[in-house]
């Protein structure tokens, strides 16, 4: 009986230690799973042959974001100190990882007014160009 109780304690300690040491950051996950493609204004860039919705889903499943924003141009994931933006690049994706301040500036057209102070809103509806969606 005593050995079983000690076994439970050991399992708990080892489990907690393993969970804490094996849990990487979203930054390291992106680095390990996508192809490095340089940097842009302080953000690390990566590419994938998969489309943005699939890549964003993969990253969010591996590391759950605190918040997320979807727009027609891309998906943006917010972590405690990192922003991840996944946007289309041809048939694949371009992934940008930046710290909070740089990420806010970089992704401002998409996250402004949602993750920051600015309203970032359009002043009025101006519509689209000719020919979109018509029969």
């Amino acid at each position: 009986m005593k050995f079983a109780a000690i076994g439970l304690i050991l399992a708990g300690v080892v489990g907690i230690a393993f969970t804490l040491t094996s849990s990487g950051s979203v930054r390291s996950y992106v680095k390990d799973n996508y192809k490095r493609a340089g940097s842009d204004r302080g953000a690390e860039l990566y590419t994938s042959s998969q489309p943005p919705a699939k890549v964003a889903t993969e990253i969010a499943k591996a590391h759950k974001p605190a918040d997320r924003r979807a727009t027609p141009e891309g998906v943006f994931l917010r972590y405690r100190s990192d922003y991840v933006g996944v946007m289309a690049m041809g048939a694949g994706s371009r992934i940008a990882v930046a710290d909070e301040d740089r990420g806010y500036g970089l992704f401002f057209p998409f996250v402004g007014g949602f993750w920051g102070r600015s309203s970032g809103r359009a002043e009025g509806f101006r519509g689209g160009g000719p020919g979109g969606g018509g029969k």
Partner: protein
């Protein structure tokens, strides 16, 4: 006669007060609806697909009810399914029950589209947007994300070209003093692992509790054994 006149005046006043409320969008603020419709217009231009949303809100607790409708043609304008060769419309119903009602708040979500490879509810769910989140306090953001994701999913499914992002040189920059707010307080490692950590903490706590109980039981039985083994002292006979 005078009572009838008062009733007409009261009804008129009520209509003046209620009419603007009924016309207001019950989920999105006007600026959000304009921004969303504009992003859809840009997507329609790039992809040749019409996009829109139609959300019916039924609030039995007295909040704003009505329909929140919009499309690439503007806020308040539904998708013209007759005029669009390809269209995608997000349709949802949000039910807020009264406070004394037994039933709970709920929402349902559907997507009406007319081409293969169009977004589905499962696609939205994969991106982390489910119908249940439409009853959250921030359901305006949820709706904006769901509708905004439609052109992205259409492109990801190979049914249309991706919507091009603005060039870095043209992209709007934050104004001076505009900084990120609402930084998440929960560490990323805790958000990722809280379930595993809770499980192992339970094992650890359970093991400690069990060991302490065993020690108590041992000490108690040892005391009982000592008292049984101890010789009974009798007072000396006089």
């Amino acid at each position: 006669m005078r009572g009838g006149l008062l009733a007409v005046v009261a009804a008129g006043a009520l209509a003046v007060i209620v009419a603007p409320l009924a016309q207001a969008l019950p989920v999105l603020a006007e600026a959000d609806a304009v921004e969303l419709a504009q992003s859809l217009a840009d997507a329609t231009e790039a992809q040749g697909v019409c996009y829109g949303w139609a959300v019916r809100v039924e609030d039995q607790s007295g909040g704003p009810s009505g329909e929140d409708v919009g499309s690439d043609k503007g806020p308040g304008v539904p998708v013209d399914v007759a005029a669009c060769a390809r269209y995608v419309e997000l349709e949802a119903v949000i039910n807020y029950t009264c406070e004394t009602c037994e039933s709970e708040d709920g929402a349902s979500l559907g997507i009406d589209a007319n081409f293969a490879g169009a977004p589905t509810e499962d696609d939205l769910d994969d991106l982390g947007f489910s119908d249940g989140s439409l009853i959250d306090d921030d359901n305006d953001t949820v709706l904006s994300n769901m509708v905004g994701a439609l052109p992205l999913i259409t492109a990801s499914n190979g049914a249309a070209a991706p919507v091009p992002a603005l060039d870095a040189a043209e992209a709007e920059r934050p104004a001076a003093g505009d900084v990120p707010t609402g930084t998440p307080s929960t560490p990323d490692w805790l958000r990722d692992n809280w379930l595993a950590l809770a499980f192992f903490a339970l094992l650890l706590g359970g093991g400690v509790w069990w060991l302490v109980r065993l020690r108590h039981a041992e000490a108690s039985s040892a005391r009982t054994g000592v008292s049984r083994a101890a010789p009974v002292s009798h007072p000396p006979e006089t």
